[in-house]
Symmetry: C2
Subunit: 462 residues, 2 copies
């Protein structure tokens, strides 16, 4: 313990959203005379938007620097000792110190901490397939990955791309590759693309992507990456076919990067993520916090822990951690599972539970699916959207919403996210006072139409 | 009372949103053998979108028929005896009957009812000014009004327009007239345009409209409409100036049309609207319901009755009335005061209480105003928006939100509308799991940024 006014040291492992938000918030609360902050980042960049990488690859965002919210220099100007290209290789919990290695010089050293933040992020799932390391096969997790892919795209003469995985990153990368003039094939194990949706809604994504010229191969696992005489990728093999490929992008998803935490004996959950309490403190560890893509979070709808790697959560975690580390108070109550994405002009959103999620936790439910439009039907630009709603049988409590549509569809999921958080029933939702004017909504907002149908289904299914 | 299977008669006064929604819902629940439905409408149109009139006048909507959700013929095909151009002139509550006059033939008759729905709508406030009846002075409440204005626009050679009133209809009409090539001056009594916002937010609307070439004259009452030798309007006079005008549009607002109800002794509130219970039954009257623009509704935030003429409420009222009349069950719990509009590409939204609303009911509050963007700052099309949030002192309960911005700003108010309905605090809102991806939102949605600032203000203002 330190007497008042003496300096504590906060060590942060990971220089991206969660870690640097925590550091910045802690700094806002305590000056350098009270709190020393040392942060380690093994990569070349700090505080960047990984979610923006597909849009940088696509060319929507032209300058990589725009994805960086705050540079190492800016952090240092705020009295945060951010050490770039420095990898933490061990957490010594008993000794209250971390070992790090300077990736340029190879030099190793130990740094003691009074308080520790673990924000080691996630690593892409990279299946152990023959040929996976071949030139022309790319992940898109980091800015370095994105740069490598862009370099590869500019060097590649062929225009055939295979994207492995049809989740958010996969479909966003399909759009990016389309914009570079590639013929794009998505190969995915799921019944339909976007397995974060129920298959009936995923089918709508499938159909819309077909209309954009994207080929989707579902229920299919990649078995091998085939290379040419030059060692470069030439095709992706599945059980049933070979898909010629000049470029392969891996968009299979990520898993918590908790190698360090595991070695240090910190508690991990079923999904491999760190387990924390509501203040983002690692369970059983008074002076260690964790946040961002390396933790599991409570799903408020199912009551289960989940791994939800998403920049918006990482930022919230960092804020909460920084407040607590800095002597304030904050909690992260959990998530309801909201996500939104797009492929070209198709908007895809979800929140809460899918049918299989509800079944997995023993919830009985009814569903309602409706079609409506983003604006009054007669207003120019009114775009079709499909809304699916799940409600608990008997109670009528909202369980989840999925939306597939065009402009104006995606962010409507926020209404459901708030209603889920508040524990509303679908009947209560039918009376929600949502903004209405012809350029913004039909007189019954699509979410209200879905709520009405779901409420009728609850009554009918009594 | 009728034995089972015998026919009851439902009479509906008013053939627009509330009345015909009620009739349609009642019809869905009971067939013609159980329930006879007679509806009276004095105008030429049924079930139309009055909110769409500015966009029809502007040319965004090209065909008047598109604004009609259901024609009289379509209603009749659903066994609703809708009598157009027939005005109800008296409600005989004791006798359970209404007197009506056929506006074509002048013939009068009485129609008995078992159940009555009063959906007489609103009438535009039309100040008793000299010259107000002159050719070239137009209201925009009904389709007939809209047609008259369009006819007038096409005949008018001059291109100077004055809009009286800078509320929703006023600013929407300013946009419509701009699109017809008019020089537009808005004259309004308020401190700033859009008095449904606080003046600091209204100022942003004022500035944006200036940028569009719309002149706004605030804190100014119209004293007279001046006419030329031909009897047509030539200018609008105020205390301080004369504004030349080839066209004048009145957008001052509306008040409940409850002349019939008042004469019949039905209960009216402070705003002149009918008072109902939560099932939309007129207070003290077992077999009379009322809904739409002629009723007052409970404001769930202030606990006071308000008059909120808006098509989306009228439709909900109709649905609830129809369910109850048809032997089902429904309630309309109230409103939180959500409204959204636009002037050209400027989006304007509000929900809950303004500062003066909070003061009027004795609530102490803190405010927070922030600027953010509709998408990640680096994403193409990211548009600036300003969000103002009011929270109750001490409790931190959300009291209201106002938003002024460009594309993607307006409908964000829905998040606040749901949070208000659920009674959330601004601190709770900071943890909301809103949809995030760079094309849809910054990593902190603007509503979350405002909630964070408001929460800090609550703590600081303890």
């Amino acid at each position: 313990m330190f007497p008042m006014g003496a300096t504590e040291r906060l060590v942060v492992i990971g220089g991206d959203a969660a870690g640097m938000s925590a550091a910045s918030q802690a700094r806002r609360m305590k000056g350098p005379d009270e709190l020393e902050i040392v942060a380690f980042e093994r990569g070349h960049f700090s505080s960047y938007s990984a979610c923006g990488i597909p849009y940088w690859v696509s060319g929507d965002v032209t300058d990589r620097a725009e994805l960086v919210a705050r540079t190492p220099k800016e952090h240092r100007e705020r009295a945060i000792d951010l050490r770039m290209r420095t990898e933490v290789t061990e957490i010594d919990v008993a000794g209250g110190r971390v070992r790090s290695r300077d990736l340029e010089s190879g030099a190793e050293s130990w740094t003691g901490y009074d308080k520790l933040v673990v924000a080691t992020g996630a690593r892409p799932v990279r299946p152990d397939l023959p040929g996976i390391g071949a030139p022309g096969v790319h992940g898109v997790q980091t800015l370095d990955d994105g740069q490598a892919l862009l370099d590869s795209l500019s060097r590649t003469e062929g225009r055939r791309a295979v994207v492995v995985g049809a989740g958010y990153i996969g479909v966003e990368m399909a759009e990016a590759l389309l914009k570079h003039g590639f013929e794009v094939t998505l190969v995915d194990r799921g019944e339909q693309p976007m397995a974060t949706l129920d298959p009936d809604m995923g089918r709508l994504v499938h159909e819309a992507m077909s209309g954009m010229g994207i080929t989707t191969v579902s229920r299919t696992a990649v078995t091998k990456i085939l290379t040419g005489d030059d060692g470069r990728v030439r095709a992706v093999a599945t059980d049933s076919a070979e898909h010629p490929a000049d470029i392969v992008v891996l968009g299979i998803g990520v898993e918590p990067e908790t190698t360090l935490a595991r070695a240090a004996g910190l508690p991990l959950g079923h999904h491999g993520g760190l387990l924390t309490d509501l203040s983002m403190r690692v369970r059983g560890h008074e002076n260690i916090w964790a946040g961002g893509d390396c933790v599991e979070v409570l799903d408020l709808v199912s009551g289960r822990e989940r791994h939800v790697p998403l920049g918006t959560h990482a930022n919230k975690h960092g804020q909460v951690i920084g407040a607590n580390v800095g002597g304030g108070y904050g909690t992260f109550p959990g998530v309801v599972g909201t996500a939104v994405s797009k492929v070209c002009d198709l908007e895809i959103a979800r929140t809460g539970l899918r049918e299989k999620d509800a079944r997995a936790v023993g919830l009985q439910y009814v569903t309602a699916t409706i079609e409506s439009t983003s604006r009054a039907g007669y207003f120019p630009g009114a775009a079709a959207m499909t809304v699916k709603m799940l409600a608990e049988r008997r109670t009528g409590r909202l369980l989840g919403v999925q939306i597939v549509g065009r402009e104006g569809a995606g962010k409507r999921v926020d209404v459901a996210a708030v209603a889920l958080t508040a524990g509303m029933t679908v009947e209560q939702m039918t009376a929600l006072d949502l903004g209405y004017a012809p350029p913004f909504s039909p007189v019954w907002d699509p979410v209200l139409v879905a709520a009405r149908k779901a409420s009728a289904a609850v009554r009918a299914g009594a």
